[in-house]
C-alpha cells in the first residue's frame, strides 16, 4: 500500500502502565461496603458450616438469653416454699434458690437473676423459643441471597427481554409493553401479596413471584432506553449492511451494550428486593416459619422489645440495613465507574 504509515503504530502498554490503570480502577472502590457484602455472601453460602447451632430448633429453657457481652439483671427475692402466680416477681421457690445458694432457707432474701447472663454459647443471644440469634441471622442471609438471585434471574430476564423488544421494534410493541409497566406501577403489590398468602398459604414461591412482578419493569425501562440509543449507532447500521440477522444484531451488538447498565440496576434492585422480602416477612406474608428470614425475625422480636429483650429484632434489623446500604453504595460506585459519560469527567 502506498500510504505512509510509519507513525501510526500504537506501542503496546507496558506492565507498569497496565498496573497503574488497574490501580486507578480500584482506587476508589468502596472497601467497607464490599467487605460487608462479602460477609453476607459468605454467610449465606457457608451457613451450615458457620452457624454454631441449628437455626430452627431451640431449648425453651434457654430462651431470651441476651448476647454474650451483657450481664444478667439481678434482683432480691424472698425464698418461699411454694409460689403462687402473683408472687412471681417478688419470690423464688426453695428448689430454685438451692441451685444458687445451697444454704438458702425459707424466708431468706436472696439475689436472683431475673434475666439470665449472656453466654458465649449464644454470642448474639437466643430468641423467645431458645433459638440462637446468630445462627438465624446467618441462615437469614442465605434466604435473602436465594430470594434475590431467583428474583433477579427470573424478573431480570423478563425485564431485559421486554426492554429489548420494546426498544428494537418500537411502535405497537413498545406501546403495549410500556403500558404494562404503567399498569404495574398502579398495582399495590404488597396488598396482592397479602391476599395471595391468605388464599394460597405462605410459601417461598409466592413471594418470589410477587418480587419478580415488582422488579421487571425497572429492567425493561432501562434496557429499552439503552436500546433506543444503541440502535442508532453506526455499527448497528453496518451490521445490517453486512446482512446480519435481527437476532445477531440484538445479541452481539445491542445486548452487550446494555450490560453495564444492567449490572448497576441489578445491584440497586437487590437492595430493594431484600427490603421488600423483609417487609413481606415482617407482615407474615413472606418466607414461612420456622425458616429464618431477617424480616420475620424482626417481627418475632417486636413485642418483646418493651420487656427489654432487644436483641431478637435488632440483629436481623442491622443485617438488613447494612446489606441494603452496602448494596446502594456499591451500586452507586458501579454506576460511576461503568458509565462512560461520567468516566470522561474524571
Amino acid at each position: 500500500m502506498a500510504a505512509d504509515l510509519s507513525g501510526i503504530v500504537v506501542a503496546p502498554p507496558t506492565t507498569k502502565e497496565r498496573a497503574a490503570a488497574v490501580y486507578r480502577k480500584i482506587r476508589r472502590l468502596p472497601l467497607i461496603p464490599v467487605f460487608l457484602l462479602s460477609l453476607v455472601v459468605i454467610a449465606g453460602v457457608f451457613a451450615p458450616i458457620l452457624a454454631p447451632h441449628d437455626p430452627e430448633k431451640g431449648e425453651l429453657k434457654e430462651r431470651n438469653i441476651p448476647p454474650a457481652w451483657s450481664g444478667g439483671v439481678k434482683s432480691v427475692k424472698i425464698v418461699v416454699e411454694r409460689m403462687s402466680i402473683n408472687q412471681r416477681t417478688t419470690s423464688v421457690t426453695l428448689a430454685d434458690a438451692l441451685k444458687i445458694d445451697p444454704a438458702a432457707q425459707i424466708d431468706d432474701e436472696i439475689e436472683v437473676f431475673s434475666r439470665p447472663e449472656g453466654t458465649t454459647k449464644f454470642l448474639l443471644g437466643t430468641d423467645h423459643l431458645g433459638r440462637d440469634v446468630l445462627s438465624r441471622v446467618i441462615y437469614g442471609a442465605r434466604i435473602s441471597l436465594l430470594v434475590s438471585i431467583v428474583t433477579l434471574a427470573v424478573g431480570g430476564t423478563i425485564g431485559v427481554t421486554m426492554g429489548l423488544a420494546a426498544g428494537w421494534y418500537g411502535g405497537m410493541v413498545d406501546e403495549t409493553l410500556m403500558r404494562l409497566v404503567d399498569i404495574k406501577l398502579a398495582i399495590p403489590l404488597i396488598l396482592i401479596a397479602l391476599v395471595l398468602v391468605i388464599t394460597l398459604g405462605q410459601s417461598l414461591w409466592i413471594i418470589v413471584t410477587v418480587l419478580c412482578l415488582f422488579i421487571w419493569p425497572r429492567f425493561a425501562r432501562q434496557v429499552r432506553g439503552e436500546v433506543l440509543q444503541l440502535k442508532h449507532m453506526d455499527y448497528v447500521s453496518l451490521a445490517k449492511v453486512s446482512g446480519a440477522s435481527t437476532a445477531r444484531i440484538l445479541f452481539i451488538h445491542i445486548f452487550p451494550g446494555t450490560i453495564n447498565t444492567l449490572i448497576v440496576v441489578a445491584t440497586l434492585q437487590v437492595g430493594i428486593v431484600i427490603l421488600l422480602e423483609s417487609t413481606l416477612s415482617f407482615l407474615g406474608a413472606g418466607v414461612p416459619p420456622p425458616t429464618p428470614a431477617w424480616g420475620s425475625m424482626v417481627s418475632d422480636g417486636r413485642d418483646k422489645l418493651a420487656g427489654g429483650v432487644w436483641w431478637i429484632s435488632t440483629f436481623p434489623g442491622v443485617a438488613i440495613m447494612v446489606t441494603v446500604m452496602s448494596l446502594n453504595l456499591f451500586g452507586d460506585w458501579l454506576r460511576d465507574t461503568l458509565d462512560p459519560r461520567l468516566r470522561q469527567l474524571e
Binding site: A3, D4, L5, S6, G7, I8, R24
Partner: protein, 330 residues
C-alpha cells in the same frame, strides 16, 4: 479590502505575551498552551489555525479567562486588552470585561442559546448586564442588533424561541449577542462548522460587514484554511501548544516556512485545480502531557535534522512580520 500591510499603523487592542496555560491531570501536566505571543490590531482579523488538540481552543478560553480552575491555570504570561492586563484581575472585574470589551461566538448554536427564553430576551439580557440604560432603550438596542445581523422581520421574531429558528438564524442570534455591547475584540470559535456552505457564505459575509462598520478586531479559531483564506489578514499556525508560524495571510499561503504549515497546506484538496495526489502528513501529533524536548513536529517532519530533536527552535523572522519556529529558517 484592507490588507494586512496597511494595518501596521493602527493601534494594538490585544497583546498576548508568552501565555502559558497548563492543566494538571492524572497523566501529568498538560501544556495545552505553552508560550504563545501575538498582537491584534484594531479592525484586523487574526486566524488561529491548527488541528484538534493543538491548543487553539484553550487559547480562546484563556483570552476569555474561562479556563476551569482547577485543573487548568494560566501559569505565566500576560494578556493586555485595551491597555489592561486581564490575567491578574479578579473574576468580578473580568465578568465586566467579558461581553463588553471581548466577546465570544462558539461553535454550536444549539447549546449557546437557552431554549427556554425568547431570542429577544437573550439579546436584551446580554445588553442589560453591561449597560445601565432604561428598559425602553434596551429593547430598541436589541432590535437594532438583531437587524444588524440580518434577521428578517426582526420585530416579529424577537418573541421566537431558539427551536423555532434554523441553524443559520440561530448562529446569527449568537452573533448578535456577541456584538450587542460593541466589544473591541470578537473571538469566533469555528462559528460556521455546523452550517451548510451557502449559509456559511452568508454568515461570513455578515461578519465582514459588521467588522467594516464597527472596526471590530476578530480572532478566528479554525482548522480550515479556507476560512483563513477568505476571512483573515494574519494567521498564527499552532502545533502542540505553540505558535509555529505567524505572518500575513499571503506570507503563509505563498511562502509557508514551517514544514508543518507547508504540509498542512499541501494536504488540503483544492477546488480550483486538479491535484494528482495529496501530500499526507505521517503519524499523529504528540500527546500534550508528554512533549519532546525538541521540536514537537520533529517525528512527522520530512526535513528533520538532529538539532530538531535536541532543542526547541527559536522563533525567527522569515521576513518583515513573518516568523517561524523552525531550525530550517535562516
Amino acid at each position: 479590502m484592507v490588507t494586512a500591510d496597511t494595518r501596521i499603523d493602527t493601534e494594538v487592542v490585544l497583546s498576548v505575551d508568552d501565555l502559558r496555560t497548563h492543566f494538571t491531570t492524572r497523566w501529568g501536566t498538560v501544556k495545552a498552551v505553552d508560550g504563545i505571543s501575538f498582537d491584534l490590531r484594531r479592525g484586523e482579523t487574526l486566524g488561529i489555525v491548527g488541528e484538534s488538540g493543538c491548543g487553539k481552543s484553550v487559547t480562546m478560553l484563556s483570552l476569555m479567562r474561562l479556563i476551569p480552575i482547577p485543573p487548568g491555570k494560566i501559569v505565566s504570561g500576560s494578556i493586555v486588552l485595551d491597555g489592561e492586563d486581564i490575567v491578574p484581575i479578579s473574576e468580578q472585574e473580568m465578568a465586566k470585561i467579558r461581553g463588553s470589551k471581548i466577546a465570544l461566538i462558539i461553535q454550536d448554536p444549539m447549546t449557546s442559546l437557552n431554549p427556554v427564553f425568547s431570542i429577544g430576551d437573550q439579546v436584551e439580557e446580554a445588553i442589560k448586564i453591561h449597560q445601565d440604560i432604561p428598559k425602553r432603550s434596551i429593547t430598541d438596542r436589541a432590535l437594532e442588533v438583531l437587524r444588524k445581523v440580518n434577521i428578517p422581520a426582526a420585530e416579529s421574531r424577537v418573541k421566537d424561541y431558539p427551536h423555532q429558528m434554523s441553524g443559520g438564524m440561530r448562529q446569527r442570534v449568537v452573533g448578535a449577542i456577541g456584538i450587542s455591547c460593541q466589544p473591541q475584540v470578537l473571538i469566533a470559535d469555528e462559528p460556521t462548522t455546523s452550517l451548510d456552505v451557502t449559509i456559511q457564505a452568508q454568515y461570513l459575509k455578515l461578519l465582514k460587514d459588521i467588522q467594516k462598520e464597527s472596526d471590530l478586531s476578530i480572532i478566528f479559531i479554525t482548522h480550515d484554511f479556507g476560512i483563513v483564506a477568505k476571512m483573515c489578514d494574519r494567521v498564527a499556525v499552532m502545533y502542540a501548544g505553540r505558535i509555529v508560524e505567524h505572518g500575513s495571510v499571503r506570507d503563509i499561503f505563498n511562502n509557508p516556512s514551517h514544514p508543518y504549515t507547508e504540509a498542512l497546506l499541501a494536504s488540503v484538496p483544492r477546488m480550483d485545480r486538479v491535484v494528482d495526489r495529496l501530500y499526507s502528513i505521517e503519524g499523529q501529533p504528540p500527546p500534550l502531557h508528554d512533549l519532546p524536548v525538541g521540536c514537537a513536529f520533529a517525528n512527522r517532519c520530512p526535513v528533520v535534522m538532529d538539532k530538531c530533536i535536541e532543542t526547541y527552535p527559536e522563533i525567527k523572522a522569515v521576513s518583515d512580520g513573518h516568523t517561524a519556529a523552525c531550525w530550517k529558517v535562516e
